[in-house]
């Protein structure tokens, strides 16, 4: 097979060296900065305190009382005359629903597009993977 000399040659050794650099002394100081961050995170984390039995009962009683108060207020509020105007506009709610649906549709389309691309690639990959497992030379596969 004739070799194509116009083809960019990824075999050039110079290309195999990555072209990135770091600020001077970065690796020398990394460990110290990391330790500092770990110390800061550990000192700022609040220790979890166990709740005592008596405190637990008081908390439960408070929660029940709060729930009862809220329920009573809602019932009174909704049954009082002239409260209709305080409800949100149905048209506005519908509009919000449409916006939500649009966002969902957008997400769905985005995902579908991704899946479609993946499927195409997956099919090619599966075929190539099969040939690769059976030790067929990659260059022959791509011929």
């Amino acid at each position: 097979m004739k070799k194509n000399h116009n083809k960019p040659d990824l075999q050039q050794e110079v290309l195999k060296n990555h072209p990135f650099g770091v600020p001077e002394g970065y690796f020398e100081s990394f460990s110290e900065r990391l330790q500092q961050r770990i110390r800061e995170e550990e000192s700022s984390s609040v220790p979890v305190r166990r709740i005592g039995k008596s405190t637990r009962w008081v908390a439960m009683a408070a929660a029940v009382l709060a729930a009862a108060l809220i329920t009573t207020s809602i019932i009174r509020f909704t049954s009082s005359p002239g409260s209709e105007g305080l409800y949100p506009d149905i048209a506005l709610l519908e509009q919000m629903q449409v916006l939500d649906d649009d966002r969902y549709l957008y997400e769905l389309l985005g995902e579908e597009e991704e899946v479609q691309l993946d499927e195409e690639e997956a099919f090619a990959s599966q075929a190539i993977e099969y040939l690769a497992i059976n030790d067929v030379e990659m260059d022959l596969i791509y011929e």
Partner: protein, 182 residues
């Protein structure tokens, strides 16, 4: 400082009073390799620094419970890779625009990056790599720049050797075609 081998690091991390020394040994031994691996994924130096620190903190928190079923090196690479990929995902989310072409932005920022030391052809190569799908990009970087064996890569990325070979060859073909067009 005498360098510990992986076994000493793992054993040291389980002994009370020695955990910190073991972790420092791990950082000293692997920081550069992990940094370069992450840098090639996230491109920007500051981002790579963030990801490396986050990875190291995760490693610090779970090192004592690490079971040496897989090699330490494989485990570290896996954590760093996942951390880098989640970082990119978060970056896209933070932009409040999932359609944003993050790789395109990364590609453009390379030209102005003060920590990019490459010449024109190296810049073109990096920009071509950034056009690959995320996973293909990682496979290409690991094979092409780091010469990681497919078997090791398979453990790190949890993908079969055959799929990795195929992925690498797809990547090479795409990069060659992109470079040819430029």
């Amino acid at each position: 400082m005498q360098e510990w081998d992986d076994r000493e690091i793992i054993e040291g991390s389980k002994i009370q009073g020695k955990e910190e020394i073991a972790f420092n040994q791990l950082v000293f031994k692997y920081q550069e390799r992990l940094y370069w691996h992450v840098r090639k994924i996230v491109i920007d130096h500051d981002d790579a620094d963030d990801v490396l620190q986050n990875s190291m903190i995760k490693i610090w928190r779970s090192l004592s419970s690490f079971r040496s079923e897989s090699g330490l090196y494989t485990w570290l690479y896996r954590i760093a890779t996942n951390e880098a990929l989640s970082f990119l995902k978060q970056k896209k989310k933070k932009a409040f625009a999932p359609w944003i072409d993050l790789e395109g932005q990364m590609s453009e920022s390379l030209e102005a990056d003060p920590w990019f030391n490459g010449d024109e052809i190296q810049l073109k190569l990096q920009q071509a790599i950034l056009k690959l799908p995320e996973k293909q990009r990682i496979v290409f970087n690991m094979k092409y720049f780091d010469q990681v064996k497919y078997e090791e890569m398979s453990e790190i990325l949890g993908t079969s050797v055959g799929a990795l070979k195929a992925s690498y060859h797809h990547a090479v073909k795409k990069i060659e075609s992109i470079l040819r067009k430029d």
